[in-house]
C-alpha cells in the first residue's frame, strides 16, 4: 500500500495538473482525491510539488541482444529504461542474428521475460536478415506477439519487396515501421549535407535522402492498404510530407520524432564529436524548429529515443569510422522537461500523450492513467531537482550521449509498476 500525498498529476488530456493524493493498493490505483485518509500500514510519500504521471513507453530502442551484448543487454537496457522513467519498450530487430523469425523472437522474448523488470516487446524484420530480398517469416513472428515490422537501420531498398510484404502482412493486422534513407544518396557518414559537412570535409547526407523514402513508403502503404509508421524523422520537409499525407486521410500514417532531433543540430558536431553522430543525422535549427511544430501539431504521434548504445571504444574512433547512434532512454524525460516543459514550449500533457500513451496505442497495449481502477504504472518526477548524467548514474552499458557529465533540471524520483517500486531515489 502506497499513499502519494499532494502530487501534481499529469494526464494526456489536460494541460493543467490536478493536485491530490493517490492511493495504490496491490498494484492498482484505489483512490485519487484530496486529503485521503491514511490506511493502516500504508507507506506515505510526501509528493508535494512533484509530478505524478503515467510511465513512459519507448517504441524504438536497440538493446543489441542477441549478438552485440558488449554494447547493451536486455538487462542493462531495461534498467536504463527504468532509470529514465520508462516501463515498456519495443526493440529493433537489427541484431545478430537479426530478429527475423519465430525462433529468434521466441528466444529474445524468453530472455526478456527473465532479464527485465519491465515488459520488453520486439519488432521483427521485414526481410530475412534485413537483406531486403526475401520476406522474413512474418506470420510466425505475429503468433508470438510481434506487431511491427521494420528493417530499421536500413531502408527496405526494393519497393517491390516492401509492397509485397505490406500486402501480405497487413492481412494479419501487422504494420510497418520505416527507417527512411536512400543509401545511394546518403553514403555511410551520417552527417547532414550542409555548411557543417563542407566545413568538416565529410560527405554529407542530404535531407532529400530521407524525404524521398518517407514519401515512397507512405505511397506504398497507401497502395497496399497498410499502416505505415515513419521512424525518427529528422527534416522539415520530411515532417511536412507526413503532414500532407495525414491531411489527405486516405492512408494510415503514424510517425515518431526523437528528442535529439528536436534538440541538436549539425553545428553541435563541431569538432568531430561522435556523440552527435547518428542516423538520420542532426540537421539544422530550421529543421529542429519544424520538428517541434510537428510534435505540437500532432504530425508526430509519438516521441521515441532510438536508444542506440555503442562502446566507448567504438565511439572513440574518428567520425567516419565511428558507428551511428546515441543512447536516449536515461536522458529523454529529463531533457524534454529541461528544454521544453520548463521553458513553456509545451506542457506535461504533450509528454504524457506522445511518450506514454500514443506509443502504447501504436502497439495495441492498454494505456495507463492516474485514475481510480487503473493499474499502477507511473513515474514521480521532481521538477526542482537536477540530474547529472555521470557514468555512475547511467545504467546502460554504454554512455554515448552528448549529455554525458552534463546537468539538467528535473529528476526521475520513483518508478512504480504494479506492486513494485522499480526505482526510488
Amino acid at each position: 500500500m502506497l499513499l502519494l500525498q499532494n502530487a501534481r498529476i499529469a494526464s494526456e488530456n489536460s494541460p493543467t495538473l490536478l493536485e491530490g493524493d493517490v492511493l495504490i493498493v496491490e498494484g492498482k490505483i484505489q483512490d485519487v482525491g484530496n486529503n485521503l485518509a491514511i490506511p493502516e500500514g500504508a507507506r506515505v510519500i510526501d509528493a508535494r510539488g512533484r509530478i505524478l504521471m503515467p510511465a513512459m513507453f519507448d517504441a524504438h530502442v536497440h538493446f543489441r541482444a542477441p549478438g552485440f551484448e558488449n554494447k547493451e543487454t536486455i538487462t542493462t537496457g531495461s534498467e536504463a529504461a527504468i532509470n529514465g522513467g520508462v516501463t515498456g519498450v519495443v526493440m529493433m530487430p537489427n541484431t545478430r542474428p537479426a530478429i527475423d523469425s519465430a525462433a529468434v523472437v521466441a528466444t529474445v522474448l524468453e530472455s526478456a521475460e527473465r532479464k527485465s523488470r519491465i515488459p520488453v516487446y520486439t519488432s521483427g524484420c521485414v526481410t530475412k536478415d534485413r537483406q531486403g530480398k526475401e520476406l522474413a517469416e512474418i506470420d510466425g513472428m505475429r503468433a508470438l506477439g510481434v506487431k511491427m515490422l521494420t528493417d530499421d537501420g536500413d531502408t527496405t531498398s526494393d519497393p517491390a519487396v516492401l509492397l509485397r510484404a505490406m500486402q501480405y502482412a497487413t492481412e494479419f493486422g501487422m504494420f510497418f515501421a520505416s527507417h527512411c534513407e536512400v543509401p545511394e544518396l546518403a553514403g555511410p557518414r551520417s552527417l547532414n549535407e550542409g555548411v557543417m559537412s563542407y566545413r568538416l570535409g565529410i560527405k554529407g547526407s542530404p535531407a532529400c535522402a530521407e524525404e524521398i523514402i518517407i514519401d515512397r513508403d507512405i505511397r506504398l502503404a497507401r497502395a497496399a492498404g497498410a499502416h505505415i509508421h515513419i521512424q525518427h524523422v529528422s527534416s522539415k520537409l520530411g515532417m511536412e510530407t507526413i503532414r500532407w499525407w495525414k491531411s489527405r486521410g486516405d492512408v494510415k500514417v503514424t510517425a515518431e520524432v526523437a528528442p535529439h532531433h528536436l534538440l541538436f543540430t549539425d553545428e553541435h558536431i563541431g569538432d568531430y564529436d561522435t556523440n552527435y553522430k547518428m542516423n538520420p543525422p542532426l540537421r539544422t535549427q530550421a529543421d529542429c524548429d519544424a520538428l517541434l511544430e510537428g510534435l505540437k501539431e500532432g504530425v508526430f504521434d509519438l516521441i521515441a529515443t532510438d536508444h542506440a548504445p555503442h562502446t566507448p571504444f567504438e565511439k572513440a574512433q574518428d567520425f567516419i569510422s565511428a558507428p551511428n547512434g546515441i543512447t536516449g532512454l536515461e536522458t529523454a524525460l529529463v531533457s524534454l522537461y529541461h528544454f521544453f516543459v520548463r521553458p513553456g514550449k509545451f506542457g506535461w500533457d504533450l509528454v504524457v500523450k506522445r511518450y506514454s500513451a500514443e506509443p502504447r496505442r501504436l502497439m495495441g497495449l492498454p494505456v495507463p492513467t492516474i485514475e481510480v481502477g487503473q493499474p499502477a504504472d507511473c513515474v514521480l518526477f521532481d521538477t526542482e531537482a537536477e540530474t547529472t548524467f555521470t557514468k555512475e548514474f547511467m545504467k546502460s552499458k554504454s554512455q554515448n550521449t552528448p549529455f554525458i557529465n552534463q546537468t539538467l533540471n528535473g529528476r526521475v524520483d520513483m518508478v512504480i509498476l504494479g506492486t513494485e517500486i522499480l526505482l526510488e531515489r
Binding site: 553545428e267 568531430y272 574512433q317 574518428d318
Partner: protein, 326 residues
Amino acid sequence: MARKDLLDIASLHREEIEFLLDQSTSFKQVFTCSVKKVPALEGKSVLMLFYEPSTRTHTSFEVAAKRLSAEVTNFNVAHSSVTKGESIRETVETLQAMRTDYIVVRHSRSGLPGMIARQTKASVINAGDGAHAHPTQALLDAFTIKEKFPDPRGKKVLIIGDILHSRVARSTSNLLQKLGVEVAYLGPGSLVPKYGPETIRRFTDYDAAMAWAPDVVYLLRVQMERQDVQFFPSLREYHRLYGITTERLEEIRQRGLYIMHPGPVNRGVELCDAVMDYERSLINNQVENGIAVRMAVLDWLTPGGESPRSEPTFGRSAAPLPHFTA
C-alpha cells in the same frame, strides 16, 4: 599564446598567420644565403606519419625539419590498410613511448589528426586529412601570393576544380579570406558544393569566372582515382570546360594572371603543357616556399601541452540552442 598543434586554418587568428608568414620570410632568407641549417630544433624529433602517400608534402616537411636540425623518423604506414581508430590509438601509444616531439600526420579521414592530437603531448601538424584541411599548404599558398602581392587585400583568387573533395580549397580559401583576399570557386556543379561559405562566389562557367577578373588562377588537382563515381563525364570534357587549354593560356598571358597548382599536375587535364613554361606560373615557387613555411610552423609550435577539444557549439547559432545549466 603558445600553440601545441596546427590542425586547421579556421582556428588560426589573423595575427598568428601574419607571424607565421613573416617567420617564413626569414627562414627563406636563411637558406637562400647558403646557410643550410639552423639549430632551432636541435635534439628534437619529428615523426612522419603518412597514411596516404604524398612524396611532395612528405619531402617538404622532412627537409624543413632537417634544416631546423631535428631528427626525422618515418613511421611506415603508407601501405597499411588498417586505418581504423583502433590501430590509430595503438600507433599513438607507440609514438608516446618513442617520446617524439612533433608528429606530422596525413590521413584520408577528416578529423583524424585532431583525434591524434588529443591523445598525445607531441605537437601534431595536420599534413592533410580527408577533405578537411591542409593548413601548411594554405600557408605556403598565401606566402607565394604575398611574394607577388605584398598587400594582398582586395586581390582575387579563382580556385578551379574539385572543391567538394579538396582540403586545399577549404584551407587556402579560408586563409586567403582572412588576409582580405577575395575568393571564388569554379568547377562542375557536381564538385562545387552549393552550401560552401556564402562569402565565396561560386561559378560553373569558365567565361563567367574570368569576367570576375581574378588576379590568380589556382588549379586543383583532379583526383583521377575518384573516377569510379562520376562527377563529370570524361577528363577530356573536364579539360575543355574547366582546364587551362592552349587558347585560354593565351588569354591568361595577355591579362597577366598568375597560375598556381598544389601539384602534382595532371597535364592535359587541369592544364596544357605550355603552362609549365609560362613565366607567371608559380607552381615551382609553391614547392620552394613550402619548406620555409613548414620550418616556420615547426619552429612556432610548442610540444608538451594538452590539445583542447573545441567547445561544443551550444549557443553559437542565432536561434537560442539548448544550453546546459552546468
